[in-house]
């Protein structure tokens, strides 16, 4: 019950807060994008390798580029008011539909990478805290630091060479094995097999972040008095580490977890390019190249929603973890 009332309240509060942020994002990016040289018509002509004056004019009219900027902004905002993300002339389909085709893949990749980084990160953090100041801690800290320092896509590339080419365990890219019309479970297995490398490549930076965070949080908690009380009860160290120390250390970790979602989505762009993963990140990149601003704004909006919504979830997790919050 406590959680339910809390959900309603925090959802409402975040949504109210979210509206100005979203409007801000739209306007800021719309103006920013006007400064980008070249427009969608140039792109199509560039790709086609030929054009005539008439075909360029026709394209510009079709893209609505011949109207003044303000009119374009207002038409976009009124589209938004009707909950439609506008129409993408380049892909010749509504932006909403285009993004919805890519959104599940990005959500899958993000969810997988986020859980992987949290679970593995916290496990490593706990292990490092358990062995504090001895060789396992030093060794793992170094490994974690290397993960933290190496460029994500470089790790991805190296993993492709190792796991896909030499060992052949995992597919080198793409989202599913097409045309293999596998049974349901095989399809799920196949999807997971494709998901392993990209999500680890995206997650490796964040595993390091959460591991270091958990380690310092746990070392902090270990100095508290109630840990001594627990020891005085003769509990096994494993129970103490998990039930008492980790349980309290998770609170500072979850507060920070939400902050990294923004740049995890950014990192997804490069990972999606390396693994040919049909996510929103690459769509956004292509949209910038293709100067298809309605698609780019659509992606920016949806990714902001994903980040805001995820923060609401994290806020709930935080409240569940820390009963003191409810007393506010």
């Amino acid at each position: 019950m406590r959680l339910l009332s809390r959900t309603g309240r925090s959802l409402r509060r975040t949504l109210i807060q979210a509206v100005p942020t979203v409007i801000g994002i739209v306007i800021l990016n719309f103006l920013l994008l006007q400064l980008v040289p070249g427009d969608a018509a140039d792109v199509i002509a560039g790709e086609s390798g030929s054009a005539t004056v008439e075909s360029m004019a026709a394209l510009r009219k079709q893209f609505g580029l011949d109207q003044p900027v303000l009119v374009q902004l207002l038409s976009y905002l009124n589209h938004l008011a009707h909950f439609s993300l506008g129409f993408s002339p380049r892909y010749n389909m509504p932006v909403g539909e285009l993004i919805m085709a890519r959104l599940p893949y990005t959500l899958m990749l993000m969810a997988c990478a986020f859980t992987l980084s949290l679970v593995v990160g916290i496990a490593c953090g706990a292990l490092m805290a358990a062995f504090a100041r001895r060789w396992p801690d030093r060794a793992m800290s170094l490994v974690v630091l290397v993960l933290y320092s190496a460029p994500g896509f470089w790790v991805g590339l190296m993993m492709i060479v190792l796991f896909s080419v030499h060992l052949g365990w995992l597919p080198s890219g793409g989202a599913i094995t097409i045309g293999a019309n596998l049974g349901f479970w095989d399809a799920v297995g196949d999807q997971l097999a494709h998901l392993v490398l990209p999500s680890f490549s995206l997650a490796c930076f964040f595993i390091a972040v959460y591991a270091r965070l958990t380690r310092s949080a746990m070392l902090e908690v270990e100095r508290q008095d109630f840990v001594r009380t627990a020891q005085a009860k003769g509990l096994t160290p494993f129970t103490i580490q998990i039930r008492h120390v980790l349980r309290n250390a998770l609170i500072p970790v979850t507060t920070v977890a939400g902050l990294h979602l923004g740049n995890m989505l950014g990192g997804a762009i490069v990972v999606e390019t390396v693994f040919g993963w049909p996510g929103m990140g690459r769509l956004a990149l292509d949209a910038v190249m293709a100067r298809d601003f309605s698609v780019l704004l659509g992606v920016l909006l949806l990714s902001s929603f994903v980040v805001i919504f995820a923060n609401v979830l994290i806020d709930l997790l935080h409240a569940w973890l820390d009963p003191r919050i409810e007393a506010e």
Partner: protein
């Protein structure tokens, strides 16, 4: 109870303490011994700095010049110890000049980010009220937009060159600092020394920069090293997507250039990757070390 047996009034020493209590070291030797990681980080960074500074002396020619046969493996031809890339350019020269580019971008982007972030955080944190709310919304806005995408758009606006990239990464990375400084200012604002400064009639700006900022600096300094590391990683990402500055050899452009030959000449991707990882590792180690030095409580462990 080791030592003598009990005897007359002279009485034995109550008990000779059987071990020497561990000694706590002070001063410079303390830093070296208590924080090996910090020293290692500093050492690596100095090596990279020296390489970057002496690039002209080590490799006087233009690193992008096609000097040798293409695709030489490292140590295959001692004239090019680390081999050559697909266009016959010396990889070693590329790494050395790349160090210069990466450091320049790293530090300039971080300083832009620091500048904006500190200003926004300080003003927001200090004045509070409407300004703080607006600035907080702005920070949040920049935080929700995927940072990398913002960098790409800014680089697409300006032409992909060193200054534009540094500006783009700086603009995309200031929110982290803003949040940190704002939190610091909000807590430091209520401290007594601020009341005292106010009572002496100091102006707000003087209080912000001369009184509160020095106290808010330690965590900022620690995050600064992490920001430099982040900037270098973002630059490699940009160059990897062929958005880097074509007139400069950077580690990112070398990784990007070597990407196609991943199957055959994987050293073209591996070497700059390791160089990047090492430099970023050094910066992170320094960040950790600074954190421990500034944070005495940690030292007693």
């Amino acid at each position: 109870m080791s030592g003598e047996t009990s005897s007359s009034l002279a009485s034995p020493a109550a008990v000779a303490v059987p071990f020497k209590p561990p000694v706590v070291r002070r001063g410079l030797s303390a830093i070296v011994i208590n924080h090996p990681t910090f020293v290692v980080g500093l050492a690596i960074l100095t090596v990279v700095f020296v390489l970057a500074l002496t690039a002209d002396i080590l490799y006087p020619g233009d690193p992008m010049d096609m000097v040798g046969p293409p695709l030489l493996w490292p140590f295959q031809d001692m004239e090019y110890p680390l081999g050559t890339d697909s266009l016959g350019r010396d990889v070693a020269a590329g790494l050395v000049y790349g160090a210069r580019v990466s450091l320049i971008i790293g530090f300039s982007a971080a300083s832009i980010g620091l500048l904006i972030g500190t200003l926004v955080g300080a003003i927001g944190g200090f004045f509070g009220g409407l300004i703080d709310n607006a600035l907080a919304r702005l920070t949040e806005l920049f935080q929700t937009v995927p940072t990398f995408l913002l960098v790409i758009v800014i680089v697409a606006i300006g032409e992909p060159s060193l200054p534009v990239m540094a500006l783009a990464i700086g603009i995309a990375s200031w929110p982290t600092i803003a949040r940190l400084v704002r939190a610091q200012f909000r807590s430091l604002r209520q401290q007594d020394f601020v009341m005292a400064a106010r009572s002496l009639g100091y102006s707000n700006t003087r209080i912000i920069f001369m009184e509160i900022l020095p106290n808010a600096l330690p965590p900022v300094v620690v995050t600064a090293s992490v920001m430099v590391a982040g900037a270098i990683l973002t630059e490699t990402g940009l160059s990897f997507l062929n958005m880097g500055d074509p007139n400069l050899v950077s580690w990112g452009s070398m990784i990007g250039g070597g990407r196609e030959m991943l199957r055959t000449a994987w050293y073209l991707t591996a070497l700059p990757g390791i160089a990047t990882a090492l430099t970023v590792l050094a910066l992170n180690l320094i960040g950790d070390g600074l954190n421990e030095i500034f944070n005495p409580r940690m030292r007693q462990r």
